[in-house]
Assembly symmetry: D2
C-alpha cells in the first residue's frame, strides 16, 4: 500500500444505498478508463445480511458483511470506502485509518464539528504513515468544473468579486413523500444545508481559494410532518431550504440558496462566478458544459461561450469518448477514485482532504447558528 | 380629464436622458397599438436649453422648457411624466398633483422614506379629486410577467414558498467608466439596490401579493474611485452589489442578489418562483419567454415549458404582431402608459401606485439598515 | 427628393393589413431613432373606404384613399410604400417609379419572373433619374444578421462550405384555420416557399455573396381544403412545406426547409452557416442573439458564443437602449426605412434592390420547377 | 443459450478501436444496472497481437486473439460482438451465426446491399434455430428517444407530417487531420452518409414506423486530399457532407443533412418531428433531454417542454441514478446489450434487426445513386 510496486488494490465499502451503487460504478470502471492498478471489489457491508448479499452479487462485490469492523480488521483490504449516513463516519474512518487503510468518506465529512475535528487529527496522523484519506466532494471532479478551476487559477476571471451558488431539487415538493433518515436531525445532521449546501460551499472554497469570513443564514422547513412507510406521521426535524449570504476573503461576496422544494429543478447545482475580467457559469443538469465570458474578447463579439467539455484536451476526457459524446454524473466518482488512487501511488496528499471537509462543516454550522439568531432580521417600516 | 368624452391627452415630460428617450417611444406608439385617446407630446423639460430643444425635435415633442414649473402651471397639460433623478421626484410630483395633473413617476418613487410618504399622501388626496398617479415599475408590464401573475393568481403554482430574484448587469466592470450621478448617494439615493433591486422587490410584491416581514442585507462597493470626464478621481458613495434574504408573509422566503459587476450579464433580471404545485422562471434578456413547470402534468412528461409570450391571447399581444414575432423592452413603457390612460379614462386607481413605490422603498431601506449592522455576521469556527 | 436640402419626406402606403401596420410602426419611429429627415405619414390606401379611414386614424396617417393611382399621381408624395399581395406589386411599383416616386415594395418582389423582370428594368431606368427602389427583405436589417454579415465579410468564417436554412411556423397546423388569399395560388403565387422561403434564400445570397447554381426541390400540401368565413370548403392551391437542396457558387451546399405546419415553432427562421474557420447560428425567435464559433479560439476554450447584439457598437443599436435591453421584430422595418432614406439622401443605390428580389424569385421558380419533375425521385430498393 | 436457465454469457468481441472501447464499457456495466445474467468478457480480437493483448488487459477481457475465426470456432463463446470496419461485417456475422453464436454488429450493417441482403438471410435462418442477431443502432436506446417513440406510438403527435434530421460534427474541419480508413471508400463504403446519416435514417424509420419511398440526394467532398501519418498526401474518396430530401410513406416528408465539417457542432444529432397534434425535438449533445410541444395544452400556456429524461419512470432510468442525475453516451451500449440479452433469454426477435439495417442501407444507396444523377439539378434562370 502506498507502494508503486502494488499492482492491485482491494476495496471494502461500508454502506450500500444509492451512494453505494454510485461508488460501485466508479470502482468498476476506474481501471479501464485510467489504467490504474487493478481494483478488486472485495467486500461490501450492510446491516441486513440478505439484502447486502443480494446487492453484492448485483454490483459485483466478492463478499458481503454485516459489521464494518470485519472489513477494517481484514488485512487484505487496502482501501475503505464509507457511504453510510453522516453520524457513523467518524467512528469508521478513524478506526480504518488506525488500522492502516486508506479511507475515502462520502460527504458530509461528519455531522458535528467535534467529529470532523477528530477525523482531521486522525487523517494527519495517518498521512505521516503514508496512509491517505479523502472526503468525496465529487463535484470537484466534474470535468467542466476542473476546467473552471484551471481558468480561475490561470487568472482568466481576474479577481473574483461575487459568487452565486445554488443547488435546487424538487423531490420534497411531494407532501406524501415518506419520512426517511435524511429528514431526521439525529441521522442527517441537517437537511438541505448539509446535503446540498455542503457541495456548494466546497466548490466556492475549491474553485476560488477563498475562505468564508462571515455569514448570515436562514433555514426554513415547509413540510413539518411526513408519513412513514406505514402512514404514521413523523416530524421533520431538518431544514427544507437554506439561504445565506457569505463574506469571502479578499472582499468578495457570495450568495447561497439551496432547497429540495423547487418544482422542476431536478438537480440544478448552479454556479455563477464573477470576476474583474470575466465570469463563468455552470449547471449540473448539463454537467458537460461550462460557460465562459471573457471581457477581453474583441468588442462587439463578446458573449458567453458554451464550452462542451468533452474534448481530449479537457480534464479526464482523454479517458473517454470522442468530442461531443457526453459523460454522465457517475464519472465524478470514477474521477475521484482515480485521483485517490494516484495519491496512494505517489504519496502526494489526497484531495479533498478531511480538513477541506471540516472547513465546509464549520461554514454550515455558522449558517445554522446565524439562522437561530432572531436579531439578524430587520423589519421594514410599513 | 378623467372624462370619457376626452379624445386627446397632452403630456409634459420632465427629464430627457435615457429614460426620457424610452418614455417618448412609449408615448409615440401607445395610441396606434391600443387605440387610446390621441396623445399629444406637448412639452419636454431639461436644464440645458439648447440640448432640450434639440432632443424635443428629435423625439417629436412640440415644445421644450428649462423649468418644470412651467409645465406644471400650463393649463393645457393633462399628464406630467417625471423621468428625473430620484431626489427631485417628490417636489415635482406633489406640485403637479396639486395642480390637477395626472402624474406618472419613473422609479424609484423617491430617495427617502420621508419623501415617499409625502408623495403617497399627495396621491391619495389627488385620487379623491379624480387625479391619477403611478410609479413606473415598468417590468410589471412585460407580457410574460403579466402572464406569470395570471398563472399565480389562478393558483397554478399553489402556495408560493420560495423566490429567487436577481438583477445582474456588467457596465460597472470597467474600472475606467466615468463617475456619474448614479454613483453618488446624494443624487441616486443608493446604488444597485435602488436601481435594480427596486424592480425585483416590486415584482416579488406584485406577482405573489406577499409582503416582506424581515430582511438581512449586505451591500458591497468594489470600485471606490472613478474618474470624472476630466480624469479627476471622485469617490463612489453607493453600493455596487446588494445581497439580501427576505422573510415573506405566509412563511415564504426570498433571495435577492443584484449587481452591476457581473461580466457578461447585460440585463439579466431573473426570477424563479417556486410553489407547492409548480414554478415559473423568467429572464429579462429573453423577455418574450416565460417558463412554466406544472407538477400536475402527466408523470414522465413533466418539464419546464418555454411559453413564447407572443400570441394574441397573451397580455397586450393582440396589439402587436403575429405569433412568434417578438417585441422589445421599450413596450414595457407603451403598456404602462396604456394602463395609466385606462385608469384616467375609467377612474379606477392606477397601478403601480405611489403606495406600491413606498412599500418597495421601505424594504430597500431595511436592507440598507441591516447591512450597516455588523452583528448580523457570524464568523465560522476555523 | 434625393436632395440633401430636403428636410422632410411624405410617404404614401398602399395596403393596410398586418404588413401595413408593421410598416406604419417603422415610419412612425425612424426619425426619433436615427435623426432622419422628418417623415410625414401622408396617405394610406385600401379598397374598403370605411376600413381604411379607420386604420388611417389608428395608425396616424393623415389621409386615406381607395385607389392607389391617386397616391401615385399626388405631387406631394415622395415615397410610395407597397404592402399589397404580390400580384399587384408590378403595376403599382412601375407606375410609381415612372411618376418619380421612390418605391419600397414588401417582399416577394412579384409573383412571376415576368413581372419581376419588368420591375428590375423600371428600377434601373428610375435609378438613372435619381429615383430609388428597394424590396423589403427586412431580415437583412436584424442587427444580429448585420453583425453576421460583417463577420463573414471580414473572413471570420473562412470559406463558407455549408448553409442550413429553415423557416418554421405553425399557424397552418390548425385544420380549421380559414381560407385566405395567402393559400390561393392566383393571389399569393406560392405558399410557404414564397412567404418564408424567400427570406431564407435572400439571406443566403446576402450574407455569403454566393449565388445558387442548381436546385432540387419538393413541395407538399398537407391540408387540401379549408373553410371560408362561412364554413364553405375551398381548395388550398399552394404548398404547406417546401424542401430543397441548393448547389451554391464556389462549391458550397445549402439546405432549405420551410413549413407553416411545425407545431411549436412560432417564427423560427434559423440559419447555420459553416465555414472553414468558424460558424454562426441564428434563430429569429431570439433575434437579438447571434452565436459565433471560432476555430481559432484557444484550444480547450472553444465554444459557441452567445453575442447579445444590443450594444452601442453593434449595427443600429446606438439608436436604441443600453446593453442587454432587447429590441423587437418591428425594428427590422425601422432599420430598412432608415437605410432607404439614407439612399435617397446620398444617391447611393438602395438595398435590397429589385434585382436582388428577382434573383430570389428565380431560385424559388427553379425549386418549384424541380418539384414538378418526378424524375428527381429515386426509390430505394427494398 | 436462449435458455432461461443460463446464468452467464461469454462474449467475444471482434475489433478494439474506439467502438471496442465503448462496447466494453457496455458489457462491463450491463449486469450491475439491469441484473441480467452474468456477462463474462471472454475474448477480444485484433490484428496486432501485442496491441490487442494490452487492450484486453486495460478493458478487462480474459483473452486476446488475432483471428476472429478462433472466436467463432470457440464452443464456450455465446455472443459475438462485431466492431470492425463495415467491409468485414458480412463474413464474420454469417460465420458466427452459422456457428450458433448470437451476433450483434456495429452499424452500418454492411458496405453493400449485396452483403446486407446475405446477412438478412443468414439472420432469418439463425432465428429459426433460436439464434439472435441485431445491428447496433445504439441511438434507439437513448432514453429520451425511447420516450419519443412511446409518445409517437401513443398518438401524442397525431399524424407525423415532416421530419428534420441532421447529424453535424466538425472533426474534418481541420485540413491537416490525417487520412484514415473512414475516409476511404473501399473500407468505409461511404463517408458521412454511412457514418452519421445511417443513424438518422434508422431513427426516422424506428420512431415513426414510416418507410422511405423516394429520395433526392447530394454528396459533397470539401477536402480532397489529406496527409497520412508520414505526411504523404492521399485522396479522400468519400463524402464530407450529404443532403437529401425524403418522401415518406403516408405523405410525409423528411430533410436529411449530415456533415463532419460544421465547426462547433461536436456531436449534434438533431431531430425535429412535426405532427398534426404536436412535435418533439432532440439533440444528442444534450441526450438526457426531450422537448415536447402539445397543441392540446391550454391556450396561452403552450410551449416546448424540456423533459429531463432522468426519472425512474423513464425508459431504462430505474437502473440508474436519482432524478436529474444525467447519464452519458456510453449507456446507449449498455441499454442495447440489455435489450439483446433479453431477446436471447425470451426468444423474442432482437431489435434493431439485420432487416432494419438493410432497410437503412437501401435508403443510403438510393441517396448516393440520386447524387450521381446530374439531371436532378435545376438551374435558376438569371
Amino acid at each position: 500500500m502506498g507502494d508503486s510496486q502494488v499492482k492491485e488494490f482491494r476495496v471494502g465499502m461500508i454502506g450500500y444505498g444509492f451512494m453505494g451503487r454510485a461508488h460501485s460504478q466508479g470502482w468498476r470502471n476506474v481501471t479501464a478508463a485510467f489504467r490504474t492498478p487493478r481494483i478488486i471489489m472485495e467486500s461490501i457491508v450492510g446491516r441486513d445480511s440478505a439484502a447486502v448479499a443480494r446487492v453484492a452479487s448485483e454490483l459485483g462485490w466478492n463478499r458481503s458483511h454485516t459489521d464494518w469492523r470485519e472489513v477494517v480488521a481484514d488485512p487484505t483490504i487496502d482501501i475503505v470506502d464509507i457511504c453510510t449516513p453522516g453520524d457513523s463516519h467518524a467512528d469508521i474512518a478513524i478506526a480504518a485509518l488506525e488500522a492502516g487503510k486508506h479511507v475515502i468518506v462520502e460527504k458530509p465529512l461528519a455531522n458535528t464539528l467535534g467529529e470532523s475535528r477528530a477525523m482531521v487529527a486522525a487523517a494527519e496522523a495517518a498521512q505521516a504513515r503514508g496512509i491517505m484519506s479523502a472526503v468525496n466532494f465529487n463535484y470537484r471532479r466534474v470535468p467542466a468544473l476542473m476546467l473552471a478551476k484551471q481558468l480561475i487559477d490561470g487568472g482568466r476571471l481576474g479577481d473574483v468579486l461575487h459568487i452565486r451558488g445554488a443547488y435546487l431539487q424538487d423531490w420534497l415538493s411531494d407532501p406524501n413523500l415518506p419520512m426517511s433518515w435524511r429528514l431526521q436531525k439525529e441521522r442527517a445532521g441537517t437537511g438541505v444545508l448539509g446535503d446540498l449546501g455542503a457541495h456548494v460551499v466546497d466548490l466556492m472554497h475549491h474553485l476560488t481559494g477563498k475562505s468564508v469570513e462571515g455569514v448570515t443564514g436562514h433555514l426554513r422547513t415547509f413540510t413539518h410532518q411526513r408519513p412513514d412507510e406505514n402512514g404514521k406521521l413523523g416530524t421533520v426535524t431538518v431544514d427544507d431550504a437554506a439561504l445565506a449570504t457569505l463574506a469571502l476573503s479578499g472582499g468578495a461576496v457570495a450568495n447561497l440558496d439551496v432547497t429540495r422544494n423547487a418544482p422542476g429543478k431536478k438537480n440544478e447545482l448552479s454556479l455563477g462566478i464573477y470576476g474583474t475580467k470575466g465570469s463563468i457559469s455552470f449547471n449540473l443538469e448539463n454537467l458537460n458544459e461550462l460557460w465562459l465570458f471573457d471581457r477581453e474578447d474583441p468588442a462587439g463579439e463578446q458573449g458567453y461561450r458554451r464550452i462542451l467539455v468533452t474534448e481530449s484536451q479537457h480534464p479526464y476526457l482523454a479517458a473517454w469518448w470522442p468530442d461531443g459524446h457526453i459523460i454522465g454524473w457517475e464519472h465524478t466518482f470514477t474521477h475521484q477514485f482515480f485521483e485517490f488512487l494516484t495519491s496512494i501511488e505517489t504519496g502526494k496528499p489526497a484531495s479533498p482532504s478531511f480538513a477541506d471537509g471540516h472547513a465546509v462543516q464549520s461554514v454550515l454550522e455558522a449558517i445554522a447558528a446565524s439562522a437561530e439568531n432572531a436579531h439578524t432580521l430587520t423589519a421594514p417600516e410599513q
